[in-house]
Symmetry: C2
Subunit: 466 residues, 2 copies
């Protein structure tokens, strides 16, 4: 079945960090464009006047006064924390114990897991997120429900049974062998089924015995095309805890390297406290990190070195993530707000004014999250960060037609007058105007900018004024 | 004219930082309370069953399923930046030049100033802010319009002509003598007129010649009951720039001390880079600082040392502020969100895990912004920070009846289910439940939690679902 969507479109064709000072080269903008979708796949795309004649009798939905982008991609999020996001007062380890494990344990019950997971996906769509890489719990029920719900909504997701066999409540822990068997069964059932993709998921090295890590190694060896999703170097106490548990490893990355997990399709969330040497090795492995600023700030983990991982000398694949519920928001626009702020704090620390010996003006500049850099990071960049860029991330022919329809006036009361500095009622005519509107949405607006979210060419969410 | 408002009320009677571990002592909670207002002033307050019999035939407005707090207080905000809040990519000094001065210059035109100022106040009320201390521009028109609009809305405000005579565009600068004359005329016209209060406002020492500072000294000497509002130690480059301009002063505070400005009713915004010595002196002077986390992060200024200024050994008066437009939000709830995050980052840096020589567990603990600490800071604490606690800040008899009606389910889609962990449809029955709801509002909710804003016992804003 073929259909068309006509509107104002903005996407990316390259990484803006590779076009410093000429970012517009990395993007595309069609003030009046047509996207042609066939069975959920992009069949054609470009200026309306060019594309439309190629598709006579096409049923076209016209979307006016909106800016349409590829759907947002969340590289790191915890389904079972949907209800406890933003809980008070602790750094990572006590926070898990006080708030998170008790809630996650409820997901062993299928009915509760279904309620939570439905709300999870509703919240994602309301925030314009169309793809995520998710943690579930240590109970297979939670992972089954995750994939079932994703299938029901026809969404491109990555997820897995989230293994932990120490540093948690007894009744919550896996055994290494049980984790191996359960993961295997889930992989065989869900990996590649529809749009579902499986990630072998040791929660973090801090909560994983050598035997559990060995089970992960076996799984990756048997199922080499699976993803691997975990945490790395989020918080200082956690980091030191890992080194005390895995005494033969010299750093946090070394634990995952020891079990042959680091390479393409590996994502480590956070990486706030990685050393330069670890960064270089991650790059050499072609592995990936996920930057989760809301969470890093909420748990006081620290400032992720955005300018370091975007260093062209050893560029690291990056996705951005909410890390909901250590992150207190579901919206990737909120993530961009705080990513910008983390970047600006780094920028000051690297400009020589605080500590002249740390001056690095190029790294300082790479920390500035322009709207190009920001929105690439949550669309095409996020897709590359999750090794999904053959499937999603922009409007290239053959990709899956997931997109988000943005109202640039959305947000608190102050947003509309602010945006009126950029455009009038007729909307953006140039790429630069569109980029300025996007910056306004990330810094002054919020999830209220998300007007519609479409999955495989069908509308899955429409904002109601309630 | 007497009227009553019945609902669920939460306010503070003391500073929660003085009740570590027993914060509930600092607050009051009435699940079913009655506020009696006479000509805008609080005439009675307490549990409905106690208070109501004292006021037969009272016309009572009942507010159900809401939590009512004293109106929020914003200690540092820039009226003329209403349209340019959150503008891209610069630290403080280039940001002023690129974005701010061009917009502020438009406020020399009365018509534009009126439009901007009306929008400013609309945005404040929509965010639940009932009192602010504001910067206008270097043009008296902007200050007149500010006070006129505040009077029209009957709001308790502090503001002043915002003087600058260097490091800005020529046509924007004051002369010291002109600034003196214009300020004097504005003081005589507006200070104490209705609810208006005047602050002698040298924008910042970086943009003030010794002659302009001398003009401020004269004004404070002639009008000792005026407030003084300015900026201090916001950004490293700015701070070094000040020392190069005022070469006889040994630190930033020293510049304001030299001109006899530091004492009660003095507010310095930011203070991110103040030394321990400056902190001690500010405390000894009984002067005040304003913590503006959204701005400090947006401009990359750094992490304010919240745990330092709340040290009981030399406690400093504190208000919180949006610093809209270096701050990208009008909402004090957004300020609390990011204040919490700044505090948690400080907490990690002081717990010994990063640098053992910096360990200070008491200071680390003081950085944790509980809902008690947070909401005190934007109500009674903010009033104390602005030397207005005889007038506003809580529901003591004789104070002005400014309050905000909060919907604890407000915010993004995720908020309601999160809050349902705390209370059912009947709402909070205990102070602890109310405090947990407040934390949820600051971290998971946002300005959508503000349902109504009342000024002097009359409703000034009602949220519409549009």
């Amino acid at each position: 079945m073929k259909r068309g969507v006509r509107g104002t479109w903005f996407d990316f064709v390259d990484d803006p960090w590779k076009h410093v000072g000429r970012e517009m080269e990395a993007a595309r903008f069609h003030p009046d464009g047509l996207l042609v979708i066939e069975d959920g796949i992009i069949a054609d795309f470009g200026p309306f006047d060019e594309v439309s004649p190629r598709h006579p009798d096409l049923e076209v939905t016209q979307i006016e006064r909106r800016l349409i982008l590829p759907g947002f991609i969340d590289g790191h999020i915890h389904v079972p924390q949907t209800r406890v996001l933003g809980a008070f007062g602790e750094q990572l380890l006590p926070w898990l114990e006080t708030w998170v494990f008790p809630e996650e344990m409820k997901y062993a019950d299928r009915e509760y897991a279904e309620e939570g997971t439905q709300r999870f996906f509703d919240n994602l769509l309301a925030a314009g997120t169309t793809t995520c890489q998710a943690f579930t719990t240590s109970s297979p029920v939670s992972t089954e429900v995750f994939f079932e719900e994703a299938s029901r909504r026809n969404m491109r997701v990555i997820g897995g049974l989230t293994g932990i066999d120490r540093m948690g409540p007894e009744e919550f822990l896996n055994t290494p062998e049980g984790f191996y068997e359960d993961s295997k069964a889930l992989i065989e059932r869900f990996h590649g089924q529809g749009r579902n993709l499986y990630a072998i998921t040791p929660r973090f090295a801090y909560g994983a015995s050598p035997e559990l890590m060995e089970a992960c190694r076996r799984l990756k060896q048997e199922f080499p095309d699976c993803w691997v999703n975990t945490h790395i170097s989020e918080n200082p106490s956690e980091f030191y805890g890992v080194l005390r548990l895995h005494t033969d490893c010299r750093d946090y990355l070394g634990v995952y390297e020891k079990y042959d997990l680091v390479g393409p399709r590996f994502s480590g969330g956070h990486g706030v406290w990685l050393s330069n040497d670890e960064f270089r090795r991650i790059s050499a492995h072609d592995a990936s990190l996920t930057f989760c600023p809301c969470s890093n700030l909420f748990l006081g983990s620290g400032l992720f070195r955005l300018g370091r991982v975007t260093d062209p000398a050893f560029r690291i694949r990056l996705s951005f993530g909410t890390d909901m519920g250590g992150g207190n928001r579901f919206s990737m626009l909120s993530v961009l707000d705080e990513a910008y702020k983390v970047g600006m704090c780094n920028n000051t620390l690297l400009d020589g004014s605080v500590d002249p010996s740390r001056e690095d003006l190029a790294e300082a500049e790479r920390n500035k999250l322009s709207p190009y850099r920001g929105f690439w990071s949550v669309t095409l960049g996020g897709a590359e960060g999750l090794y999904l860029d053959d499937k999603v991330g922009n409007f290239m022919l053959g990709k899956e037609a997931d997109f988000v329809v943005l109202d640039w006036e959305g947000g608190p009361k102050a947003a509309a007058w602010h945006q009126s500095l950029v455009v009038g009622p007729e909307g953006p005519a140039t790429m630069e105007q569109a980029a300025n509107l996007l910056f306004g949405m990330m810094m002054v607006g919020d999830d209220r900018c998300v007007d519609e979210t479409w999955i495989m060419g069908a509308r899955a969410y429409k904002r109601t004024r309630a």
